[in-house]
Symmetry: C2
Subunit: 383 residues, 2 copies
């Protein structure tokens, strides 16, 4: 199997891009990544996207963006795994290079969610849940996460304010990320006083919908150093799944897909959680941040929030997470998020993360989760 490296990265800012269409947004990130890699024409484009069908009436999106990027003719297809669609596309690109079928491929994550009103996006996002056994009861994606958070708080006797550390860290880090959606730090008090969205989830427990696109260029690791000064090797790529419906799980507070994908990734990279210098986790909701830390081996069960409380998750802490703002403050354009995580991790490993630089970062882990833990992709990067 050919080893695979990232030789180029590109991203648009995250926010409300009403002035450009989804094809423009995607092409901007593709061209930025190709420019960064010094590549003119890759062999293939794999696109992660969840909602271009319902929100833009556009499928065959990968072919469309390939053409719009000046790459008419190349192989192109779209990958979907709900909110983990970005990492799903990375997985496909990884396999394309690992197989030896392609020399150089581009992987893009792109989503445009703010053109319609917020209700449309909320309804479309519910496609990530089980339509016949969850959506039919009138739940939304936020209310499913709210039930999970409530159960966690009850089971472990954790007060709501224990989660404050996650958004406080994310917003602090986003201040220095020029591509982030929010650039304002918040305090514990801001969190505690925030308005409720779906009890117990308040405004700062949940990531915002957004528009954005991020891309990476992949090639064989052995060629990477000839092409660029700072390639980032993909040391592990893994996927695991669970039931889509929350109520189908024996233990809803254990994210089995996250656990299994993380364990597979550690085995492939031949390292453990103690070796990870930064962890771009899927903090779509603060409860998912806590559960992901636990399932990935960074905290005992029920103690995920303690890492945040103890100041361990900042850029200089023991387990830096959301180092460029995370889903919470960089923003969460769902199908693009998995690629933003990888672009940001690559910036860290290349030493280009500015004021948020994690010192001596060598191993980074990115984790992209579809639905309420239904699908989990874990990638480990070596800088």
């Amino acid at each position: 199997m050919t080893r695979v490296s990232i030789i180029g990265i590109g991203q648009t800012s995250v926010g409300e891009h009403w002035d450009v269409s989804i094809r423009d947004l995607g092409a901007q990130a593709v061209l930025a990544a190709l420019h960064d890699a010094g590549i003119e024409r890759p062999d293939a484009l794999y696109v992660g996207n969840m909602l271009s069908g319902p929100l833009a009436s556009q499928e065959q999106l990968a072919t469309l963006i390939a053409d719009w990027s000046g790459l008419r003719g190349i192989e192109a297809l779209k990958a979907e795994a709900a909110c983990a669609s970005g990492a799903a596309a990375l997985r496909v690109g990884y396999m394309a290079v690992a197989s030896g079928l392609h020399d150089v491929v581009v992987v893009l994550g792109v989503e445009k969610m703010t053109d319609l009103d917020g209700d449309e996006a909320t309804i479309a996002l519910m496609n990530a849940a089980d339509a016949e056994y969850e959506a039919i009861h009138g739940t939304t994606f936020i209310s499913l996460n709210a039930m999970l958070m409530r159960r966690y708080m009850e089971e472990y006797q954790v007060p709501h304010e224990a989660f404050a550390g996650f958004p406080v860290n994310s917003h602090a880090n986003a201040v220095y990320n020029p591509q982030a959606m929010f650039h304002q730090a918040i305090t514990r008090e801001t969190f505690v006083g925030a308005r409720m969205i779906a009890d117990p989830i308040n405004l700062f427990d949940s990531a915002p919908i957004a528009d954005g696109a991020a891309a990476v260029v992949l090639c064989a690791a052995e060629r990477a150093r000839e092409l660029v000064p700072h390639p980032v090797r993909i040391a592990a790529s893994s996927v695991a799944t669970d039931s889509v419906a929350l109520h189908d799980r024996h233990d809803p507070l254990f994210l089995a897909a996250v656990y299994n994908s993380a364990m597979k990734a550690y085995r492939q990279a031949e390292i453990g959680p103690q070796d990870i210098d930064l962890f771009e986790l899927h903090d779509a909701f603060s409860i998912i941040a806590a559960l992901s830390l636990e399932a990935s081996g960074f905290a005992p069960r029920g103690q995920g929030t303690r890492l945040a409380a103890d100041g361990e998750i900042g850029p200089h802490g023991r387990v830096p997470i959301a180092t460029m703002g995370g889903l919470k403050a960089r923003g969460h354009p769902v199908g693009a998020t998995g690629l933003y995580q990888v672009v940001e991790a690559a910036l860290q490993l290349r030493g280009e993360a500015g004021k948020n630089q994690v010192p001596d970062a060598h191993w980074a882990m990115t984790q992209n989760v579809g639905g309420v833990g239904g699908t989990a992709f874990t990638h480990i990067l070596e800088g």
Copy 2:
């Protein structure tokens, strides 16, 4: 690179499956293919589907169907390339095994289009076109193909009835395919007298919308003979793209993506069109059948319909196509079609095609097209 073989096939009937949901339909084909291969638990499931979002409010479909098939936990993701989504999933599965990352994977194509009224499906299918430059003018997928057919008839001075051979052949073959949607043969007169849908496309020029699911099990070719008596080797897998919008092409009557994917496939398999014993092409419209034969090297430009007129496309002809009914008469559940083509080609290569058996079939080619030629996947199978 590991060589890849098909060791199991499964399919549901094509038609109106109002009694089952999309997850049931998909699981039926997955379990049939696993049973055929004698495999209990594959490493991954890749699902081709175009419309589960708009028509069933369900994404994260691959994870859902993996769980419903008793495979909770395995790797799963969905691939999309409009009407070529089935072949896109096959491409991903092929790369997963070719890379050595997985030993055994299942690839499923599934679509459920008849639960809502036909207008909903027509609107959703328009997502395959360019939303901002084609759909915005009120075109439908059928009217785009109608413009293409009109141009062909004008440019080459071909009368409409010259296309009769395609649906006549498809319907004749479907009679003996128990899984096909239609089991009634038609005559040239039926074709000529059929009601118009979008001039010059009449009822028998266009494939029906339908529900259906088809699946294959893949493993390394070197292991295949230990597992099953009649493995089918994937001798070539290729993809090429074009502009999504028809008007963006220099020459709309030349399907460049079809041409490029076919030529790449011939090179990979080290054979030419003269070696192909049967060709499951993408006859969503009879005009696409003609153009695909031309772009794939089976007929000179403007003469695709002659093959049909000369009786060369039947099971005993020189270029058998749509041997089990094709999209026209087996039915066209869009995201599933690419896998139906492969399952039917495998039946031919295993000598299990019954009354439609192509004698001494050794090489089969399948071709799945997204949009009006925007994306084309070509696979060559060796039996």
